[in-house]
Subunit: 211 residues, 2 copies
């Protein structure tokens, strides 16, 4: 709902001019993704921006606040997707649309996703975080649920989860190898849809085919 900001920032090579708050987020995103949240000091962020540590505290009340703002922007988009999907019919078309929108979110905010990925430990221990890495898992479960038949078998759930991680990690690993986003989209969604569709028909290969 609130969250176009971070993506737009991430898209630019350098934040140019504009709100200092946004420039802080942009620089922090880069550094957190490169070296990790814990290894990045406020001094470092301030230096790269050409300001001092104290200046950061005018815009964010703590270091945690900076990463929290990044995280909530990103998860907000996922939550919106889940909310939307929940009031759609459970058809093949819906599933395809869910995967497509998921791809858009991940591809667009792939810097954020990479940062999240690299700093799972830190994010899981954020002050207000529910517990461990439940933030991530909760959403994963919700999405898997939307891609599965209710009460699906373990194999079906694994298949749905695979469809999702195919999209996420496809973007992360091959985002730079693809010529443009269309090529990436075709490759990634091709795989994901195969998985989601196969999960729809009952399990044809859950047993006996593995060796």
């Amino acid at each position: 709902m609130v969250n176009r900001r971070v993506d737009e920032i991430a898209a630019e090579t350098f934040p140019a001019r504009g709100g200092t708050r946004e420039r802080i987020q942009s620089v922090a995103l880069d550094l957190f993704a490169e070296q990790g949240y814990e290894r990045t000091s406020l001094r470092e962020i301030a230096e790269r921006l050409g300001v001092t540590k104290a200046a950061l505290y005018y815009h964010f009340k703590s270091k945690e606040d900076i990463i929290a703002s990044l995280v909530s922007d990103y998860f907000g988009q996922i939550d919106d997707l889940i909310a939307w999907a929940r009031q759609q019919p459970r058809t093949r078309e819906t599933r395809a649309e869910v995967l497509d929108r998921y791809f858009q979110i991940v591809a667009e905010g792939s810097d954020v996703f990479r940062m999240l990925q690299q700093n799972q430990a830190s994010i899981g221990s954020l002050a207000h975080a529910k517990q461990r890495s439940e933030l991530f898992r909760e959403r994963m479960d919700a999405l898997v649920d939307l891609l599965c038949r209710p009460g699906g078998s373990l194999a079906e759930q694994v298949r749905a989860a695979s469809a999702l991680v195919s999209v996420s990690f496809g973007c992360m690993f091959y985002g730079d190898k693809a010529a443009d986003r269309e090529e990436l989209r075709d490759a990634v969604l091709g795989v994901a849809l195969e998985l989601a569709d196969a999960g729809d028909r009952a399990d044809s290969r859950t047993s006996g085919s593995t060796r």
Copy 2:
């Protein structure tokens, strides 16, 4: 090749008695996985073991050394797998065997894998590490290469990578939901094999089927 140790340890609920070095690794593994490498202090590890910080320095020359020992044990197994696979014929059977062995490694050392996953940032910045998270990516690329035809299209590579992450994350997410390892194996390898096999036949759906 050195590395049965960590897995055996990880398999036990509590390290019981035995070499102090191994007990340190075991406790460190737990804490690193729970709270992250950076947020875990040597004091904490020592306390849980009932010894003092200084004692740790008798067994490891630095904090980094502790996590490095965990990482190299794990990556060593992956490297062995890659080396083995490289001198096998490139058949469907080999691919199936690669995925199966990969599953064994991940499932058996799933605690280690989870720890690695949670601390990517820290591991990528280890002193002797080549660069960033290249440790991880290098192995991923090597395995993808083994599952693909040489010079495969982007879609084929994404498919192979998906097969691998399906196994890894299938284990991580559903390792505890499965009744036993056989059930997990069937579910996870079922999906992975579908992907690997589909990549073998030319791309039947890389275009036009995505919406």
